[in-house]
């Protein structure tokens, strides 16, 4: 097997707060093959965005390794990182706040080209901008428009064009569609999938919406309070979710079909607990319907329950029963 494009080993990011250490990302191992998509799913506050940003080193990791093409970039200097950033880009969640309101669409997309010195003459840069706008489906008449003149879907297309401007290999998509209406959401998802096919991109797709990642991902990692609790091929996750949290997450998705309304049984109680100085033990235990005393003492490790299906839960320690 080839070296995966991206790999993390025991990646950790803690934030110092007045109340103690906030464990935003706590020992995450994952790997993404070139040309594939890893979906990262979890509720707000589970550390999924921090994970994405730590991999790009937009946030410095507290511990662990990030391997890009087999090399540990966590120890790279600023200069070395600048070269790597040409190959790793990010699309942000909120198309309203991630674009500079005082720059025209053309300048926004041209900025990374200028920063990375891909082209030097104005004519070449603008030709490249035109090409990018065409790729993401923005009419060239918007070239001189400012972000506030455009709607959310078009703004997100600018964000995508900007990320692609330096011809990256790896793109972190941090909730790129959650601020958009469903019909626009589908347009953007289709666009991202087309771009992947055409340019051989590798995605890490962060979202809270399981139904969105199903379509776009090859593999899905479910996160809970800074830890990866389940990791498996996308289709398999929906067929056979193993972790009680994944099961609850799937049960909570409102399905647009009429069904008998008996849902109370499947709803998990309580809310995500505090990630500041967590106690040992499974972090989902306080909400878990199956929690046993051992869950509150030992932290379960992410183990292979069946081939290619990793889950961090005591009940699957000896494989699937």
């Amino acid at each position: 097997m080839n070296t995966p494009l991206i790999q993390t080993r025991e990646l950790k990011k803690y934030f110092k707060t007045p109340k103690g250490m906030l464990h935003a990302v706590d020992g995450v191992d994952l790997s993404i093959e070139a040309g594939s998509t890893l979906g990262v799913v979890g509720e707000s506050g589970c550390g999924k965005s921090t994970l994405g940003r730590t991999i790009l080193r937009l946030i410095e990791p507290t511990g662990g390794e990030v391997l890009y093409n087999g090399q540990n970039i966590a120890s790279y200097s600023g200069k070395q990182m600048a070269l790597i950033h040409k190959e790793m880009q990010i699309i942000f969640q909120d198309p309203f706040s991630s674009l500079n309101p005082r720059m025209s669409v053309r300048d926004i997309i041209a900025e990374p080209i200028r920063v990375c010195r891909l082209y030097h003459s104005k004519a070449e840069i603008y030709r490249q901008v035109d090409r990018l706008m065409d790729i993401v489906g923005l009419a060239s008449r918007f070239e001189n428009a400012y972000p506030h003149e455009l709607d959310g879907g078009r703004r997100q297309r600018i964000g995508i064009a900007r990320a692609l401007a330096v011809e990256p290999k790896f793109v972190v998509c941090d909730e790129p569609v959650s601020a958009l209406d469903v019909s626009i959401q589908a347009q953007i998802l289709n666009l991202l999938m087309d771009l992947q096919d055409d340019m051989g991109l590798t995605y890490m797709f962060i979202t809270h919406d399981l139904s969105v990642v199903k379509h776009i991902s090859n593999e899905i990692a479910v996160m809970y309070l800074g830890q990866c609790v389940e990791r498996v091929a996308s289709a398999r996750l929906f067929e056979n979710p193993l972790h009680p949290y994944t099961q609850a997450l799937l049960a909570a998705i409102p399905v647009p079909k009429l069904m008998p309304r008996k849902r109370s049984a499947n709803i998990i109680k309580g809310e995500i607990s505090n990630p500041i100085d967590p106690k040992p033990g499974c972090r989902f235990a306080p909400r878990c319907p199956l929690a046993c005393p051992r869950c509150r003492e030992e932290t379960p490790r992410l183990l292979e329950a069946e081939k290619g299906h990793f889950v961090a839960c005591m009940q699957y320690e000896g494989g699937i029963k």
Binding site: G152, G153, V182, I184, A186, V212, L249, P256, M259, E271
Partner: protein
């Protein structure tokens, strides 16, 4: 059948600014009976919130204006009521749950006082003990320990804040609740909890509800009736069965369903609706959906589609009936 609790006839609402006039709601008809839940579905800018604000008479002053139509709430003509009358109506007959629980609570007042405010206003002369009991009762009802009534909004999580907003809305047991995207800002597991609680409370208190949402999944789980809005008009409405299981659908509704990733099927590509909602300052002639519609015909560009009824199921489209000759023209 009894009189409807809410009756909206031919409602037109515009927003006037110095530069332009935005046609937010264009001839909307709606009826809601006691105990029913109506899902009002549509994209951003379809006029869902504007409709709710018109019922509450909370449109932004001077800018927002009802230009035509009639709103009858429990037999009272809302548009003809005085401001003082409206103040009495809000909270006791009709309440609204706003989308964003983070911004709809006052951060400087304890949650207990914020719930108590409604009771104090609508039940004049209520005693201290009775008030405290009322507040505690409401908190318990939405699943928050009564002991936390002295805390401030920032001490609660998003889901808890939305529960408090719901407690405020329900404090005087209104006959109608307008819930404007009550769960959009919440995580799915919390959304499930809140929706479940709202359905329970609605049943217990026998209130009617209009649930404004863009999520057809939420509608399927909570609503009896559905109305789908596009560019300020209801383009399809009916019972939940009509909309979800009906054979005929408005092309826009079909597009909405096509845009939602289906968890049970494996398709790689979604089938979205191409294009964008029309600019509400210059609405197109004929059917407002025509330039995005995959089945657009000549007539759609010129003539507004008729409302075609089939039992309780309404579809405004030239494809239904005999391309415009059937049904009743608006």
């Amino acid at each position: 059948m009894a009189e409807p609790i809410l009756k909206i006839q031919d409602l037109h609402v515009v927003y006037r600014t110095d530069e332009s006039t935005i046609y937010a709601v264009n001839g909307l008809n709606l009826e809601l009976f006691s105990g029913e839940t109506l899902g009002l579905v549509g994209e951003t800018g379809a006029g869902k919130t504007t409709t709710a604000l018109s019922v509450m008479r909370l449109l932004p002053e001077r800018i927002g204006k009802v230009t035509r139509g009639r709103i009858e709430l429990d037999g009272i003509d809302v548009l003809a009521s005085t401001d003082a009358d409206m103040r009495l109506l809000r909270g006791s007959t009709v309440s609204m749950i706003f989308q964003d629980p983070m911004t709809s609570l006052n951060p400087t007042i304890t949650v207990g006082d914020q719930i108590g405010e409604v009771l104090r206003f609508h039940r004049k002369g209520i005693g201290q003990a009775e008030l405290a009991a009322g507040v505690e009762n409401m908190l318990e009802m939405v699943g928050i320990p009564a002991g936390r009534k002295g805390e401030y909004p920032h001490q609660f999580s998003g889901g808890m804040k939305q529960r408090i907003v719901i407690a405020i809305a329900l404090a005087c047991e209104p006959k109608l609740i307008l819930a404007d995207e009550p769960t959009t800002a919440l995580d799915v597991t919390i959304q499930a909890q809140v929706l479940d609680m709202m359905s329970d409370l609605k049943e217990k208190l026998n209130t009617s509800m209009i649930l404004i949402t863009h999520d057809l999944g939420v509608v399927a789980q909570t609503c009896d009736k559905v109305a789908i809005m596009y560019a300020g008009e209801i383009i399809e409405s009916g019972s939940a069965e009509d909309i979800f299981n009906g054979e005929k659908k408005h092309p826009y509704t079909r597009g909405l369903f096509g845009s939602i990733p289906d968890l049970t099927k494996h398709t790689r590509r979604l089938s979205p609706i191409e294009g964008l909602m029309p600019d509400p300052t210059v609405l197109p002639a004929g059917c407002k959906f025509h330039d995005r519609c995959p089945e657009c015909m000549e007539i759609c560009r010129a003539v507004a589609p008729p409302a075609v009824w089939e039992g309780s199921h309404l579809i405004s489209c030239h494809l239904m009936g005999d391309s415009g000759k059937g049904g009743t023209e608006r």
